[in-house]
């Protein structure tokens, strides 16, 4: 027993040390940085509430928050709808089933940097493939990434495309749990396929929908490399994401205190949004 106690401590010691240095310390120091001015060169100075006051009145920060919400309002519903549609299409005996699934999942394994570079070209106004296809059906070229109205929706569409395969897998796993006897019973009752979807499939997929909602929301708040590569946050700052603004404050302006304040605020916003979503849908689940 004593030996087991000792081995337990010995084997978990490296992880405990790692936690102290790379988790506990950064979390505590993030809080401390909120009350500091620090440019990494001079000695850090006490800032009082400066960073918080600045955050509250910083229109660039709130612009970034608003942009992120615009992104989420387009991306999240689209992500749920497309993932559900593809999963339903795959949930049957199919020729080449593994191939279809693998094709949908391919963008998930590709680096976000590559996807952003690739789609910058697909979205290009004059030479892009998308406008090329639109021209064939007589639609005038759309300045996807340079028009403030279309830039963020275009990025949201691309991110949905990149991640959909991941959420298809979640829905496919959920579809395995729809009881076969219920499916048969509802068919004997003479339900149309829409009724079957609306009253059997969709309700029994609620846990998966909550999961997709939560994960795509959290993922959406982390938006960084796409605007960094494709638009630099423009046009008119309409694609400036919170993480991009945090990065700019740290890397370009050397404002460590303020950048950390943005990080803490973002963590709180993510927590609050996910909690509200869970409460709303948890109620639906209980009903």
């Amino acid at each position: 027993m004593r030996a087991e106690e000792r081995s337990g401590w010995q084997l978990s010691a490296p992880f405990v040390l790692f936690l102290l240095a790379f988790a506990a310390y950064p979390i505590c120091f993030a809080i401390a940085l909120v009350f500091m001015h620090w440019d990494l060169v001079t000695v850090p100075s006490f800032a009082g509430l400066d960073n918080l006051v600045h955050l509250a009145t910083d229109t660039r920060f709130w612009r970034a928050v608003a942009n992120t919400f615009v992104f989420l309002f387009i991306h999240v519903p689209l992500q749920i709808a497309t993932a559900l549609a593809l999963a339903l299409a795959l949930d049957r005996p199919l020729v080449l089933r593994a191939f279809w699934r693998a094709a949908f999942f391919l963008p998930v394994v590709i680096s976000g940097a590559v996807v952003a570079i690739l789609w910058s070209n697909l979205y290009a106004t004059d030479v892009g493939l998308i406008n090329g296809l639109l021209a064939r059906v007589g639609i005038a070229p759309v300045p996807w990434l340079t028009d403030p109205r279309t830039a963020m929706p275009a990025i949201a569409l691309m991110v949905t495309w990149k991640n959909v395969g991941f959420y298809v897998i979640i829905y496919l796993a959920g579809l395995q749990n729809v009881p076969r006897s219920c499916r048969e019973a509802i068919e004997i009752e003479g339900a149309t396929s829409w009724q079957r979807f609306r009253f059997l499939t969709l309700p029994s997929l609620l846990p998966q929908t909550i999961l997709v909602l939560t994960l795509s929301t959290i993922n959406g708040f982390q938006l960084f490399i796409e605007p960094y590569v494709m638009t630099g946050g423009g046009p008119l700052r309409r694609t400036y994401s919170v993480v991009l603004y945090l990065y700019t404050n740290a890397f370009s302006y050397q404002k460590m205190g303020y950048a950390a304040t943005i990080g803490v605020a973002l963590a709180l916003i993510i927590g609050a949004v996910v909690a509200v979503q869970r409460r709303l849908l948890g109620r639906a689940e209980a009903a």
């Binding site: 988790a23 020729v95 094709a103 394994v109 680096s111 070209n121 982390q222 740290a250 460590m256 990080g263």
Partner: protein, 271 residues
Amino acid sequence: MKSLAKLAVYIGLALAALTFLYPFLWMASSSLKPPVEVGTISLIPLDATFDNYRTMWSRAPFGRALFNSVLVATTITFAVLVLGSITAYALARLRFRGRPALEAVTLGLLLVPGQLTLIPLYTLMVKLGWIDSYAALIVPYLFNATAILMLRQFFLQIPQSLVDSARMDGMGELRILFTIFWPLARPALSIVAIFTFMGSWNEVLWPLLVVRDAHLMTLPQLLTVFALGGGAGSLGVSLASAMVLVVPVVVAYMFLQRSFIESMAGAGVKG
């Protein structure tokens, strides 16, 4: 009617698959096209050439970046497997004071968004003098809470009788872990290996913060800097440089797609 519906499903699937595959095929073929052809929608280069690859290779240290990426991702994956197994073994199979607390903290870590610790971790790297070093790219990733919890879950299922008889034979805990648990845990280890490697291979925000020297950049970082800095100069060249990052992943994915899907979807759900 039934077969008509079936046809509709296949047409829908084919269109969807085309949407996911075509951009990558276009990227691959455009990287082989001379500048006059790049803008075209066709997948077959009329006048295929490796010029874009030659240009890309000579303008930025892509060979070195490939080496850096392989080194960093392999080291991290190896560490997460070995160190994560050791931690997971202690959490799953050894009773000691503090274990429940350690489990709770590990679980709690999954809820901490990376943005919260990004800046303090970056300032820590500055203080340690690790900016522009492999240490900054590797050390903060040596352990991974998701990996530890997955391995712990797997180790819990291994029968206690195996552990007891091994201890009776005088085997130490680490020997039990690596000679008895590891061979049994191969599915779990490969799942952890794939999502760890892919996570590291594709990571770009952290390298952008801690590395400025082009010779220490990882592939996605160099690619981003190269494309944004105008170093590529032409579309074909920037697509050729993206191919260096994509080809190894796609080749591995073609052979191991089932494991990839299981691993990356599983890690996301648990993480």
